[in-house]
């Protein structure tokens, strides 16, 4: 029973990682930029979720507002920070991204204070006994459920709509896509909007599980998401999802059975190193 619970906890954590890392993969796939500041959008999403919930009492509204606003901010980040740097070597955009991320932590602290924010009436605090002695918290159910729904919608969009097809075409071969009349600029905006909105959803969910959002909450997400996209094979969406789940589950069991030897983060990176030794292109990356 414990193993099953730990597995499920791993899936909960993995779902959150997946939502965060997906945006990173999307940006890398399209622009070859390591978008470290993505974690700042995760934090922004979490803050918006808590603030709107506290103001209106509606978690649904808060999630929607948080995703839309964060998505738009993500588009602005592209327009103001990355677009001017597109012709430059990729490390310049990386430096800009790291700078934005560091600045964001202090901006959150200055605006919202150093203590962080919590839900005044934490929603979904409770649990459900699925069967004898096997429990799942409401918040955790929502994490898994919402992740499945959002990823399914995304999968459907990319496979079955004109929008999705043009997006995939742009990722595969931007110049060819342009030749076929696809507006690359719009695809890039869409890319940042979706990736940032997913990070915001992850932020709202994390805030729900922890009942705490803090200026520095993006720091773990920033490097963990990088590890996940490398593990999955840079730019591979399917690889990112598999890697996110793998890291979530390894951390879950590792915290309990290996925690006295290696910390949670160290375990994730040890696994990353092991995989890269055998498969340098990542789990599902192309050679």
């Amino acid at each position: 029973m414990l193993y099953l619970e730990l597995l499920l906890q791993g899936i909960v954590q993995g779902s959150i990682y997946a939502l965060i890392a997906l945006g990173l993969t999307l940006v890398y796939g399209l622009l070859r930029i390591l978008h470290v500041a993505h974690a700042a959008l995760f934090t922004l999403g979490a803050y918006l979720g808590v603030i709107v919930t506290n103001a209106t009492g509606s978690l649904v509204l808060a999630t929607a507002v948080s995703m839309v606003v964060t998505g738009v901010v993500g588009m602005a980040v592209y327009k103001l920070a990355y677009e001017p740097l597109l012709g430059k070597p990729p490390f310049i955009a990386l430096i800009a991204s790291i700078a934005m991320f560091i600045a964001s932590e202090e901006i959150f602290r200055i605006i919202f204070g150093p203590y962080g924010l919590s839900y005044t009436n934490p929603p979904l605090q409770g649990y459900y006994e699925i069967f004898g002695g096997f429990y799942l918290k409401y918040g955790e159910m929502l994490v898994i459920g919402l992740s499945i729904v959002m990823l399914s919608i995304l999968g459907w969009l990319s496979g079955n709509t004109r929008l999705g097809v043009s997006w995939r075409a742009t990722v595969t071969d931007p110049s060819m896509a342009r030749a076929f009349g696809i507006n690359i600029q719009n695809v890039r905006y869409l890319n940042f909007f979706i990736g940032s909105a997913l990070a915001a959803a992850a932020g709202v969910l994390v805030a729900l599980l922890n009942n705490l959002v803090e200026p520095t909450m993006g720091s773990v997400a920033s490097y963990k998401a990088l590890a996940i996209i490398v593990l999955g094979g840079l730019g591979s969406i399917r690889g990112t999802l598999v890697a996110a789940m793998a890291i979530g589950i390894i951390e879950s069991f590792g915290t309990i059975y290996l925690g006295h030897i290696l910390g949670r983060d160290a375990l994730a990176f040890a696994f990353l190193i092991l995989v890269l030794m055998v498969r340098p292109q990542g789990l599902l990356g192309a050679k």
Partner: protein, 381 residues
Amino acid sequence: MTLKSKLLGAAISVGLMAAPAFAENVKIGFNVPLTGFAAADGESALNGAQLAVEQVNAAGGINGDMLELVVYDDQASPKEAVPIAQKLIEKDGVVAAVSGSYSGSTRAAAGIFQEAGVPYISAYAIHPDITRAGNYVFRTSFVGEVQGRAGAKLAGENLGLKRAVILTIKNDFGQSLAAGFKEAAAKFGVEVIGEYEYSIKDRQFGPIVSKIRSDNPDVIYATGYFFTAGPLVSQLRAAGITTTVIGQEGYDSQHYIEIAGPAAEGTIITTSLDRDSSAAETQDFIKTFEAKTGHKSDMVAASGHTAIKVLAAAMKVAGTTDKAAIRDAIAATNLVASTGTISFNALGEVQKSVQVQIVKDGNWHHFAVIDDAALLAPPTE
């Protein structure tokens, strides 16, 4: 240099000299994290320290001279704390200093103050090596082991809860608390049936919550800070685990109760500040702190306040800015402060009672006092 700038320089020096003519300022240093991960505690510590300075100055200062707090942000980082200590000593010429910061930075700064012969008091950093820097370094809070031992007594004797799971935050704070708890556990009939570690960055404890449910302990001794303990306890309670949680001074903040909400009810901690104390000094601190800042006082604020009060009292006794005389006066302290009656042992470690507080109706309240001097004896070397 032109004549004009010479004149300007002269005017400024006259201006600077004019002000202190009737009130000489005595500078004391204060390193505190105001940005970075520990900024929340830093702000509280600074508020407590500033309140103490205001109170000392309102009561006539140090024999007529006003105290001036020279504050630097050390980000709770040793590499920031070292140049700050040097700047305080050489550039600002402080007569003494207080750390309102965590162990890493305090430990790094302690050696520098010791070498320069400048008295230095750690307000709430708990690493045992801090006072080992030398005879100019003091601490007005408990070392981790002492508080850990008090936690074991609280679990085994006061509460009669014998099967414990320990949750250790992986830094000097958590490890020294856990060591103290384990050291004294057997003495109070407490058996440790599980032990798990987490990092200061962790906020999601799903796997640990599942494991604790399967361990089914009588009590959870969970080391941490309000920002880790708040999420931990709310996740435990949301999963239906009602086991008693024993925390420490890291929980001691109204923010813990805000984060954990109703789940915080019944949490018991070992700390330095008794909200229901009958001591006038403590009650006065709690009231004036709330009036000054608009939010509730906590252990960190009270500790910053206590450290400054101890230093100010010693400076009054010494009656001079001679650092050796101030050091001797600190060593001989016997002062009723907001965190209890303060005196030091030969190593500069505080000797005071441990306050046990419980969350009731959304506030911290008195639960017990542990004043077993033998159990709470701090290290002497």
